[in-house]
Symmetry: C2
Subunit: 210 residues, 2 copies
DNA sequence: GTCTATACTAAGATAGAC
DNA sequence: GTCTATCTTAGTATAGAC
């Protein structure tokens, strides 16, 4: 079995896969909590319950471990949010459901909240990870919404892509400001109020073309 | 003249003020570029053109320097955006103008873009700075918009606070996704298209009550 | 393949000269 | 008040035993 330098894992034996899993689980806890620079490999090895050298035998270096871990988390985050691929049904119910899913899956999951923070924090140093996140999570979300808007002309949305950005972006900024930047300690704006207003906006568009 | 341990500066002599200024200017460049943990005091001293000990005579430690610097930048960012206090005039023109000002001042200013990234990155380690930013920049922006919406009932906005969050939040998320997370490399969504759609939303609300 | 022990480097902070 | 030189700790990465 050859050494595995990057996150590209090809047919690893069960034993190796299990060790890697163990390392990644420990590393996730530390990196998400402390950020990249503050995380020490000593701390990771302690958290994962393996020696430092074992980590270096599975991953090239600190950067390699970090990249593998962020890639995995990003995919997991995507799968968690977009469990339903096709959007169908009454807009009023469906869009509300979409908003609820995203807010619940990300805002209420400390890991995915920390992932978003970490992606932003390291966007300069790891642009490829930021792009992966944008592509996988944000872009996909906007695309699905955009397609939904476009396939429902009765909504009267002239620019579905822009509307998708506004809809999804409002949710993203809600999470960042209210949950990360302590906005909810300064003004309480419940999720229901946000979603209600978002719904009103989408619905009111349609009334103008009737 | 007593030593100045924190960012609270009280009547410093011109010479001292000038040195502090010199240190802060150098520190700003390094911290905004590298982030907190990656920034070394050696690098700051080199960038500022003073010795390390001079920094430590003006600021308690790395944390103290960082806090002073972020506080100053946050205030400057606020003043840059909210040069106009009172919002008046035709909604269609004025709201468009507000959006343009925010997008221009933050997205096109690498310092304020980096400030936002740094605030998010260090929101766990420096919650007081995150709160200051939210309070000073975000909250103020939402408040002004909210008051404007509330004082213009002809717009037919049922929840001005929520609408202000959606309006301002769409701009914030646009900056984060498009400018920081390389969104504009994946899909181009021009500022004009975003602002146009935002305007349509606000205007279409009013049509429903006529 | 995994562990213990260690080399090497860098960074925060301070001592002491001027 | 400012500089040079230094102390001390901590962190990445590796060498060598089992």
């Amino acid at each position: 079995m050859r050494k595995i330098p990057t996150s590209q894992i090809e047919n690893p034996s069960p034993a190796i896969a299990q060790k890697q899993e163990q390392i990644l689980q420990g590393a996730i806890r530390v990196f998400l909590q402390e950020g990249y620079a503050r995380t020490s490999m000593d701390r990771v090895s302690a958290e994962a319950g393996v020696s430092k050298q074992t980590i270096y035998s599975h991953f090239q270096d600190k950067e390699g471990l970090f990249k593998a871990l962020i890639e995995r988390l990003t995919i997991a985050c995507f799968q968690s949010i977009f469990c339903i691929e096709k959007l169908q049904g009454d807009p009023a119910i469906l869009l509300r459901q979409v908003a609820k899913i995203y807010l619940t899956k990300v805002a209420d999951n400390p890991d995915y909240l920390a992932l978003l923070r970490l992606i932003i924090a390291e966007s300069q140093n790891f642009p490829e990870l930021a792009k992966l996140y944008t592509q996988t999570v944000v872009q996909r979300g906007r695309q699905i919404l955009s397609q939904y808007f476009a396939s429902h002309p009765e909504l009267g949305i002239s620019d579905p892509e822009a509307m998708a950005h506004i809809f999804f972006g409002s949710l993203v900024s809600y999470i960042i400001v209210q949950e990360m930047l302590y906005g909810k300690e300064l003004i309480s704006l419940s999720r229901d109020r946000l979603v209600d207003s978002l719904m009103n906006l989408v619905i009111s568009q349609s009334k103008n073309i009737q």
